[in-house]
């Protein structure tokens, strides 16, 4: 138990190769819709890695993460519209508002275990969505538009998709580094203890609520940052596009599908999920046909029944069973 997950040279090399691949990838793409597809994958991955900190490592399944996403999007947009503040600052402000909100909602909700915590998070997100939809101050159901006249890095508004690609790639890297740092630190151990052996952890003097609140706050901050990015990329937000239950579901799905509680699982999950979404749309026509829902629902059920560790866990199992692979066991 005492050995910390050290950075193996092989893994470090793999991570660098992956990053190099991600850096040069857009240079080979000229089609803007294709580039947008990559941006969507990175956005999904960033949300999933952020969710994973509370839902995966600490095992507190939130199905209401859209509330943080929406808070991020609305905070940076409102600050830009009313004070002319740069979204880079607005992003941090949105993250902080999300943390305050996370602490306020975590306090009552963490009295609930498991299934009921998940339900309560849906309820909170739904309440906030209703309040925003009916708020005159936030333009209600009409939504908010960012002005197009200011463009460039300060205003984080670009005509090309390329800068957005590199910004979200940067945010994803920061989010992964944050998750990695937590995974390696003593906090990460407490999170896993809360998830696997809450009673034992409590008996050993771990303040469960405090660590659950830390997990939720970090996750909320990073999710809100992703929300601010969404607002900058789309230049328009309304309650339905950032606070909707479907966003919460997608955030959780990415992590569940790829591998809950693993560092790169959500990235894999995002690649799978967004690809299914895009291709079922082009293959079967409109979004209303439900085929994308059916495909990823079947994947979720299969993962739940056969491989709780997600697709990444499935791959690791396969590799372990292959002859010639030196590794026999993973620490977790």
């Amino acid at each position: 138990m005492s050995n910390r997950p050290v950075l193996e040279p092989r893994k470090a090399l793999g991570a660098l190769a992956l990053l190099a691949f991600a850096l040069v990838l857009p240079l080979s793409v000229s089609d803007p819709s294709r580039l947008n597809f990559f941006v969507l994958i990175l956005m999904g991955a960033q949300m999933g890695v952020a969710w994973n900190i509370v839902g995966g490592y600490a095992g507190q399944v939130s199905l209401g993460h859209a509330v943080f996403y929406g808070i991020g999007a609305y905070t940076s947009t409102m600050l830009a519209l009313s004070l002319g503040l740069s979204p880079w600052i607005g992003m941090l402000a949105g993250g902080l508002v999300a943390v305050v909100f996370a602490l306020a909602m975590g306090w009552p909700c963490f009295r609930l275990k498991g299934h009921y915590f998940a339900m309560a998070t849906i309820a909170v997100a739904e309440i906030v969505q209703i309040l925003v939809t009916n708020s005159d101050f936030l333009e209600g159901a009409v939504g908010l538009s960012l002005p197009l006249d200011r463009s460039g890095w300060g205003a984080m508004v670009f005509l090309s998709k390329l800068p957005y690609y590199y910004i979200i790639l940067g945010l994803l890297v920061v989010t992964i580094l944050a998750a990695w740092a937590i995974e390696r630190s003593h906090i990460g151990y407490y999170f896993r203890a809360i998830k696997d052996e809450p009673e034992a952890a409590r008996a050993l003097g771990v303040n469960l609520t405090r660590y659950k609140l830390i997990a939720l706050s970090v996750s909320a901050f990073l999710t809100a940052v992703g929300g601010s990015f969404y607002a900058q990329k789309e230049m328009f937000i309304d309650p339905g596009s950032v606070f909707a239950t479907s966003i919460s579901i997608k955030i959780a799905l990415v992590a569940i599908l790829g591998g809950v509680g693993t560092l790169m699982g959500p990235v894999l999950g995002a690649v799978i999920l967004i690809t299914i979404e895009e291709y079922s749309r082009t293959l079967f026509g409109s979004t209303g046909s439900g085929t994308d829902m059916i495909i990823y629902a079947l994947m979720i059920i299969l993962v739940a029944v056969f491989s709780p560790a997600g697709v990444l866990g499935l791959l690791q199992d396969l590799r372990r069973h292959l002859p010639g692979s030196g590794k026999t066991s993973e620490t977790r």
Binding site: V61, T245, S289, G290, I294
Partner: protein
């Protein structure tokens, strides 16, 4: 004048509350017996609504008459869901259990959208239609019939659980699974039964409201959250508690919507959830 309005509001709340109670009893029964929250419960209600719709559209069978068929159909769906998915995650980590029923929720919505389109549908000219007058206030007959049906089914379920051998075995499993198994009760059979009954209750609720509520693939999402509030307020696993809580939630929703504004009625009900969790986490009639 204001007394009339008050009466009208209170009775509307009571009528819808009885439906909420019926949806929530199934949810609380499944939770009580096996500690699993069925995120797909609203989808059972949705299937019940579509069963009524197709019985009416294809075979000209009125929703009221189709109810027993809907109940049997949904009982079957509950059993199939249990046997194919839930049985396999009984011993799995909690995360897997959440994802399993959560996946079912998305699957059933997706299937409904695929086969029946995302359109809102209505059942026109049902056998029960029109209004009945109670002094100065008027109520839709379908709503009244639905509420009476909900009371009847919830009452029958209570009778089954407390006055029949099979029902008592189910209750016993809910109270102490280990002890019940030692007494010779087949746990697997009880779990399957809980899913069958739970799904049937939600399906009947769907059939009852199909005459006056739009039918669409995602209709369950409105009800699952409210059913959850009812289960928490009533006390996890308590059928009697869910019945009482259903009425209270219905009243709060309608009265709150009337006083503060109808656009906030769902938010009011959901806030109630947080209040209960803060003030009395075990609910009205909960055990733990």
């Amino acid at each position: 004048m204001t007394a009339d309005i008050l009466l009208q509001v209170l009775v509307s709340g009571l009528l819808i509350g009885l439906i909420y109670a019926l949806v929530a009893v199934g949810l609380t029964l499944i939770y009580g017996v096996m500690d699993i929250v069925n995120f797909a419960h609203g989808e059972f209600l949705m299937l019940g609504m579509y069963a009524s719709f197709w019985a009416f559209t294809l075979f000209h069978v009125d929703p009221v008459i189709a109810l027993p068929i809907t109940a049997v159909l949904l009982f079957g769906v509950g059993i199939v869901v249990y046997q194919t998915v839930i049985r396999r995650v009984l011993k799995a980590p909690m995360l897997s259990q959440i994802f399993a029923t959560f996946g079912l929720m998305i699957l059933l919505r997706g299937l409904a959208q695929f086969f029946w389109k995302p359109d809102h549908r209505l059942i026109p000219d049902s056998l029960v239609s029109g209004n009945i007058a109670l002094g100065p206030v008027q109520f839709g007959l379908p709503q009244v019939i639905a509420a009476l049906g909900a009371v009847g089914v919830t009452g029958a379920l209570w009778f089954f659980l407390h006055r029949t051998r099979l029902g008592t075995a189910l209750e016993a499993t809910a109270i102490d699974r280990e002890a019940a198994t030692l007494m010779g009760i087949d746990g697997q059979k009880m779990f399957a039964l809980a899913w069958g009954i739970g799904a049937a209750c939600a399906g009947i609720a769907g059939g009852l409201i199909a005459t006056f509520f739009p039918i669409f693939p995602e209709v369950g999402s409105n009800f699952i959250l409210i059913a959850f509030v009812v289960v928490v307020l009533g006390g996890f696993g308590s059928v009697a508690g869910a019945f009482l809580a259903g009425i209270i939630v219905g009243l709060i929703e309608v009265v709150g919507g009337f006083v503060i504004g109808p656009e906030y009625k769902t938010a009011i009900v959901l806030s109630l959830l947080l209040i209960v969790l803060l003030v009395r986490p075990k609910g009205l009639m909960g055990k733990a």
